[in-house]
Amino acid sequence: MNYLSIRNLSARVKGGGPLLRDVSLEVAAGEVRGLVGESGAGKSMIGKAILGILPKAVDITEGQILLDGTDLLSLPPAERRIRVGASCALIPQDPLTALNPSRRIGPQITDRLVHILGWTRSDAEARARALLGEVQINDPARVLRQYPHELSGGMRQRILIASAFAAEPKLIVADEPTTALDVTVQKQILKLIAGLQARHGTALVFVTHDLGVVSKVCQSLSVLYSGRVVEDTTVTDFFRAPKHPYSAALLAATPKYTDPSAGLKPVPDAVIAAVKAEVERG
């Protein structure tokens, strides 16, 4: 039984157009699944749906989100909150705004362990120090007492990652965790996430528009276009021979490290028209 299985999930804006169209997705325990697509394709919307943080103006019209066998959508809000809080975590996109400016780093990691998971304060603090070590922060005790504005973007993202893994979640949703960082720091952060994921065996849903990132971190991926999953395959098969024309075009539009002079080919209009038609047909 897969840890996370999304079945025929559709969502629309209140009094507006569709956002997700009949999305189905399976993620086994410990698996790293990439969600790929152009911005606005609905990939981060799926992440938000799993964690239950969809904007108020978005309604889920049908479908199920089974987490470890239980459909989150059928649970009463309070129970769903506790279950997600205990077993899932989010690595946010922009570290600069994802930490509460008026509170120290320490409590922002330990509070959740104490309040939601019922740990003792001392265990929580020990855990926080350990995790900061795992994300290569050399003086954890001092950092725990500092305020967010005293730290760089890279440091903050490390703290957020540490905070996510601290609760030993079964599933982590990483919502484009490196987009807001500059390139040099990106590589370190990706290596960090991959390392921690392997060690902790956490299932990871990795939302990104960068196929390069997918190739380095993910085992499988789903390609999305305008709210619909157009292809669902393993990373190796995708890069060897993408089945769907849109996937192939997408791959072609990505710079190859191996052959920099190959030049970029934008997704041809014909392909766009075809996939649009397919998606509209529903």
């Binding site: 157009g17 152009e38 904007p55």
Partner: protein, 283 residues
């Protein structure tokens, strides 16, 4: 490619429309007062004093909302009172806005000694207790429409100045201003063409709120018996006159109060509505 976010339409502001309609109604009343008002607001008849509104027993149908202690028609006085209320609201509102926003813009954008001077001026001005200062002011220049407007402008311009100065400062720090300067435009030109348009929405919002406040200040000054000296009817004057015979002729106080209340409410809801409309990021 349908991006969900752009379709989140702002819920049509019912309150916004209601307040706009009420204010339009007032403007019409003010302009066509002589034709609309059933009676001459100043005409007295001591022997038909304190007649109740039409639906109450013992009413005189020709006085729809009853008469005050001097036998003047309450409805006509409210209608003519609209003229003074809107005059006070628009004139003092605009003046406050021009002076306050102007100084605020200069201080916020030019910084330096201009900012120091204006800020000191604001501090000194805000150190005066508002109501007491207006009483003193009116004692100097004597009561009357002009002095009320002056009193409101003198007290409230600091409200504009402070907000616009802060806004101009934050806008001034933004990149689009630097790029305009790089494009060789003079400092004053930049302020007018770059900063002002972005600060304008807030000015408009503050302006509508200020108009509401002006109407209330006129009512407060009437309570302290310093409002308009002439016979011309003002809502504030009617409310303070109606106060003494609240038990016998409640309508003399209640109807102008309702009108004042709806007007000020409309101004504030209009201000709120505009604030949401102008807000760049759709909430």
């Amino acid at each position: 490619m349908a991006d969900g976010r752009s379709q989140v339409r702002r819920r049509a502001g019912v309150r916004l429309w209601l307040s706009a309609i009420w204010l339009l109604l007032l403007i019409l009343l003010a302009i066509f007062a002589p034709h609309i008002a059933p009676k001459d607001p100043l005409e007295q008849d001591l022997f038909s004093g304190r007649l109740p509104p039409f639906w109450v027993h013992g009413a005189d149908k020709s006085f729809l909302l009853g008469t005050d202690s001097l036998g003047r028609d309450v409805l006509s006085r409210i209608i003519f009172g609209t003229r003074i209320a809107l005059a006070v609201a628009f004139i003092s509102g605009t003046l406050t806005c021009i002076i306050g926003a102007g100084l605020g813009l200069l201080a916020g954008f030019y910084r330096g000694w201009v900012d120091v001077l204006v800020s000191r001026f604001i501090d000194i001005w805000m150190a005066f207790p508002p109501v007491l200062f207006s009483i003193l002011l009116i004692a100097v220049i004597g009561p009357g429409l002009f002095s009320i407007i002056l009193a409101i402008v003198v007290i409230d311009w600091t409200r504009f100045a402070r907000v616009i100065r802060a806004e101009a400062m934050s806008q001034g720090a933004m990149d689009y201003v630097a790029s305009a300067r790089v494009a060789g435009r003079g400092k004053f030109g930049t302020m007018l063409r770059e900063i002002l348009p972005n600060v304008l929405p807030i000015i408009v919002v503050l302006l509508t709120l200020e108009m509401g406040i002006a109407v209330i200040v006129e009512a407060i000054l009437s309570f302290v018996n310093l409002s308009i000296s002439t016979d011309d009817p003002t809502w504030g004057g009617m409310i303070s006159e109606g106060r003494t015979s609240i038990h016998q002729a409640w309508w003399v106080l209640v109807f102008p109060l309702i009108t004042l209340f709806l007007t000020v409410l409309s101004f504030s809801q209009l201000g709120e509505g505009l604030k949401d409309r102008f807000d760049p990021v759709l909430r």
